[in-house]
């Protein structure tokens, strides 16, 4: 078991193993996303209060879940990099951060679009929206800090520390914002107190969430692989690989 993990930490082995896994995750993501969207958009019953506009949930909720998972993944990767100095963890972190920021933006944007028919406005200072917005800023901070250093290693370490600090702060921010919201403006509408969904509504949602996760894993694997090639481009095995490809094509 440990030997396997140690091997996985080596970029060369990871490159070989992920080559076999990546297509499966892409395939699973494609199937799940297609099934989930068609099921959710066409076959699931419409909401008795919100009508068809509730179907935004099939994009909104998976994106929001991913946005939060990505930050956790970012912090875990940062911790692994800081403690064990496994470069692969940092390559993954470099790839996860922009994806997480994108998912946070998708969640915010889809939430805004959903807000128009349900609340009659694009933006309310609702606790969830606000904490999501703050999380987007935290993602921006991590990405900007990594880019600000001339040396890649310093940038990677600094971004890892910031990701860990951020992950400690996210629950504090979340609960303080919820508290602030209840203090200042009584919640006129809450997302949480919807009537319990029937199964034919939440099953497609579950499929979509799984599809988003598969998409995330597939994309992270693929992008980490290209990151490996870029960072290890001076290594012999990468050059051999490139030569082999060129030879195959000839």
């Amino acid at each position: 078991m440990w030997a396997f993990i140690h091997k996985l930490g080596s970029p060369k082995w990871f490159y070989a193993i992920s080559a076999r896994l990546t297509p499966w995750f892409w395939a699973a993501a494609a199937v799940l996303l297609v099934v989930g969207s068609v099921w959710g958009l066409a076959f699931a019953p419409s909401d008795y209060q919100q009508g068809n506009s509730f179907r935004i949930i099939y994009v909104h909720v998976p994106a929001a879940i991913l946005a939060q998972s990505c930050f956790a993944a970012l912090a875990v990767a940062g911790g692994i990099y800081l403690i064990w100095k496994i470069k692969l963890a940092d390559m993954a972190a470099a790839v996860i951060a922009p994806f997480g920021a994108a998912m946070t933006f998708v969640a915010l944007f889809s939430g805004a679009v959903w807000g128009v028919p349900t609340w009659g406005t694009w933006w309310v200072w609702d606790a969830r929206l606000t904490s999501m917005l703050i999380q987007l800023f935290l993602y921006f901070g991590v990405i900007a800090l990594r880019g600000a250093f001339a040396s890649r290693d310093s940038g990677a370490k600094a971004a890892s520390v910031l990701a860990l600090v951020g992950v400690v702060n996210i629950p504090i921010i979340k609960y303080s914002v919820e508290w602030w919201n209840t203090l200042h403006q009584p919640a006129t509408f809450t997302l949480t107190e919807r009537p319990a969904m029937p199964a034919d509504m939440w099953l497609p949602l579950l499929v979509m969430v799984l599809g988003f996760y598969c998409f995330f894993i597939a994309l992270t694997l693929t992008r980490t692989r290209s990151e490996i090639l870029r960072r290890e481009s001076a290594k012999r095995w990468v050059r051999d690989l490139a030569d082999g490809h060129a030879g195959g094509r000839r």
């Binding site: 901070g141 800090l145 520390v161 910031l162 600090v165």
Partner: protein, 232 residues
């Protein structure tokens, strides 16, 4: 002749760091005074930008005072490690046999003594100008004193991360301001509660809890960040 070993206990080192930083900062008075002037200046902008109507100003004063104090603290963060980084004494701090988190904590303490505490003392004065009700002055000063200690601690993490960068100013605020939000919420909440005649104790207790947590965790993060900034 007897060789006298220099005293190298932790208490000695902490006291020496505090004394050194205090002396240095008090010799560069401008850096101590500038955040206070900034605080007063920003507060002056709001009535000009919004309205001189005292009723309106009194209503938004708790938030304005807190946001302005928070920005003043944030702007003062850069001096925390900058000159030590430039003249190399930060490296000496890292090489010292005493634990770095403790030494860093004493630097942050000096920062709070010369930035957060004066801001807290000055805030009621600006409160008068914003027509803040008199009952809330004590709470305003207390909440700022408590909250700005957390602000200094959390901000020091960002300052330590960006100290090696030539132009870290805007980046520093991008890193630090999102982390300041809980403190702003509870700090402004305390003043708001005092204005409304409610008890500010829960807010102040939460501010204290945040400070306790920051005291526990931030020194290690600051130390780790400094090592990254120095060693690359």
């Amino acid at each position: 002749m007897q060789v006298v070993e220099p005293r190298t206990g932790l208490a000695v080192a902490v006291r020496a760091t505090i004394k050194r930083d205090l002396t240095l900062m008090l010799r560069r008075r401008g850096e101590v005074i500038n955040p206070l002037v900034f605080f007063a200046l920003v507060i002056t902008l709001f009535p000009l930008g919004i309205s001189p109507d005292t009723a309106l100003l009194a209503e938004i004063a708790p938030g304005l005072l807190w946001v302005a104090a928070l920005l003043a603290t944030q702007l003062s963060l850069d001096v925390l490690f900058r000159s030590d980084f430039d003249d190399g004494s930060l490296e000496q701090l890292l090489l010292a046999p005493q634990p770095l988190p403790a030494l860093v904590l004493s630097k942050v303490l000096v920062h709070w003594l010369l930035t957060g505490l004066p801001l807290a003392v000055m805030a009621p004065l600006l409160g008068i100008m914003l027509a803040l009700p008199v009952e809330s002055y004590a709470v305003l000063a207390l909440s700022l004193a408590l909250g700005s200690a957390s602000l200094s601690l959390i901000g020091a993490i960002g300052a330590a991360l960006t100290v090696g960068l030539a132009r870290g100013g805007v980046l520093l605020s991008l890193l630090v301001l999102p982390l300041y939000i809980p403190i702003l919420i509870f700090g402004a909440g305390a003043v708001q509660a005092a204005v409304l005649g409610a008890s500010a104790a829960p807010h102040l207790a939460l501010l204290g809890a945040l400070l306790a947590m920051a005291l526990m965790l931030a020194p290690w993060a600051i130390a780790a960040a400094l090592r990254i900034s120095i060693n690359g």
